[in-house]
């Protein structure tokens, strides 16, 4: 009996303890919930600093002003930028033109060398006039036969066609026959022939030749007159022979002068 009462008392005590623990845990949970709510409320119910709205409005006002000013900022930046770009373009174009002009001058200076390098088998012209004539003729041939150029694939020839011929002084017209003779004469460098180009010297030589011819005529006329009388005096015949020999000695000089005139 005692044992049963004791057991019942223990059971009731255990039940009471469990109930107390549950109550305590419920109280703890409620307290925790309250503490969580307090913490969240503290975090979310913070009072904003005074005049927050006024500061925001002021900030918005300045932002709106900046926005209005920003609409005219691009043109203010773009106009000088466009001007600078235009100036830079002009400078670049000017430099290009200058470089082209310099390159044209250089190509005119080195055109002879290029021509030699372009056509290895071609005869090398000796004078500027001949070179110009040959270049023009080859350019004309190239223009007439562009397909031939392409077929040949010579980049030198294409360059020669595309490059404009620069005007030079004296002009590159072909020489006349007399000019060629003069050039040939200048190359031989014979002083006697060169002297014949002097009109004074030439006139003197011609006068001398005329005089020798006249003397020869007179002497031959005198010889014919005296031949009639030769039969009478052999001494006269001997004089005539001497005169003939003298005239024959002068003849080679006259021949050389005749050659000079023919030239």
């Amino acid at each position: 009996m005692k044992h049963s009462v004791k057991t019942a008392m223990e059971a009731s005590m255990e039940a009471g303890m469990e109930a107390g623990m549950e109550t305590e845990s419920m109280l703890d949970a409620t307290m925790l919930d309250a503490r969580i709510d307090d913490a969240l409320r503290a975090a979310s119910h913070a009072a904003p600093a005074p005049e927050l709205a006024q500061r925001i409005v002021l900030r918005l006002e300045s932002a709106a002003v900046e926005d209005r000013a920003g609409r005219f900022r691009w043109p203010r930046v773009l106009v000088p930028a466009a001007g600078c770009a235009a100036v830079a373009l002009l400078m670049v174009a000017g430099m290009r033109m200058h470089e082209r002009a310099q390159a044209g001058a250089k190509s005119a200076m080195t055109s002879r060398t290029e021509t030699v390098a372009a056509v290895p088998g071609e005869a090398v012209p000796e004078t500027d006039a001949e070179e110009a004539t040959a270049r023009r003729a080859s350019a004309r041939n190239a223009e007439e036969d562009g397909a031939g150029l392409k077929a040949r694939g010579s980049k030198y020839a294409a360059r020669r066609v595309s490059r404009p011929v620069r005007q030079t002084f004296p002009d590159n017209y072909p020489l006349t026959h007399q000019e060629r003779l003069l050039v040939q004469l200048a190359k031989t460098v014979n002083p006697a022939e060169l002297q014949m180009l002097n009109p004074v010297y030439r006139a003197a030589q011609e006068a001398k030749e005329d005089a020798a011819f006249e003397a020869y005529l007179h002497s031959s006329a005198a010889a014919s007159d005296s031949s009639t009388a030769t039969n009478a005096t052999p001494a006269k015949n001997q004089n005539n022979v001497q005169a003939t020999q003298a005239s024959q000695a002068e003849t080679p000089q006259a021949e050389t002068s005749q050659e000079g005139t023919t030239l």
Binding site: A39, A43, V57
Partner: protein, 198 residues
């Protein structure tokens, strides 16, 4: 009339011609009116995430500047309050992500400064603030979705539907997340309390 409303009125009067001719100025006036109306709740939302007065104010100002930049969308907004809360919420989360973890003492000091505690003495207020800071740090350790719901639920102005709109989820998921968040937080707090006592 509040100071901000007076400022808004002065601005409108001073720039009446400009406001009439310039749509940007008119939009600015609209945004200023929104700032006057919603700056307090937006500040509280930002403070609940950032727990720093300066950062919260910066987040609110940035929010209204964003609104001003996207002012052409103002006409399409149905619920202006939820839209603004969503903007400031994302803004605050971005800032929070960039911030380093705040020490407990600093957080308690921020809470003491933010909460008006005229009823408590200084030492009691400090103890209370430290307890609250401990709970808030435990909230920060919760999973992201549960943490966000719990923080937003503290806003008494926001209904469950508005919270769902801000977070972009359904109302039922808001409720379930909120239940799980509180349960998990209780368990963690009990464990930490037991460790401190034991």
């Amino acid at each position: 009339m509040t100071v901000a409303e007076g400022q808004l009125l002065r601005w409108m009067e001073a720039g009446a011609d400009a406001v009439a001719s310039d749509p940007a100025a008119a939009y600015a006036v609209d945004v200023a009116a929104l700032a006057t109306e919603y700056s307090a709740i937006l500040y509280r939302v930002a403070f609940s995430v950032l727990r720093n007065a300066v950062d919260a104010e910066d987040a609110v100002q940035e929010t209204f500047l964003r609104v001003l930049r996207h002012r052409e969308k103002l006409g399409d907004i149905q619920d202006m309050r939820v839209w603004l809360v969503r903007i400031v919420w994302n803004q605050a989360l971005d800032r929070k992500r960039r911030q380093k973890a705040m020490p407990l003492e600093d957080e308690a000091a921020q809470l003491m400064g933010a909460v008006a505690s005229g009823e408590l003495r200084a030492d009691a207020a400090l103890i209370a603030a430290q307890g609250q800071a401990r709970i808030l740090q435990a909230i920060d350790c919760l999973p992201r979705k549960e943490r966000e719901v719990l923080l937003l639920s503290a806003m008494e102005e926001l209904a469950t539907a508005e919270m769902a709109a801000v977070l972009g989820v359904t109302e039922s998921s808001v409720r379930s997340r909120l239940f799980r968040a509180r349960q998990r937080l209780r368990e963690r707090l009990q464990i930490s309390e037991g460790r401190r006592r034991g």
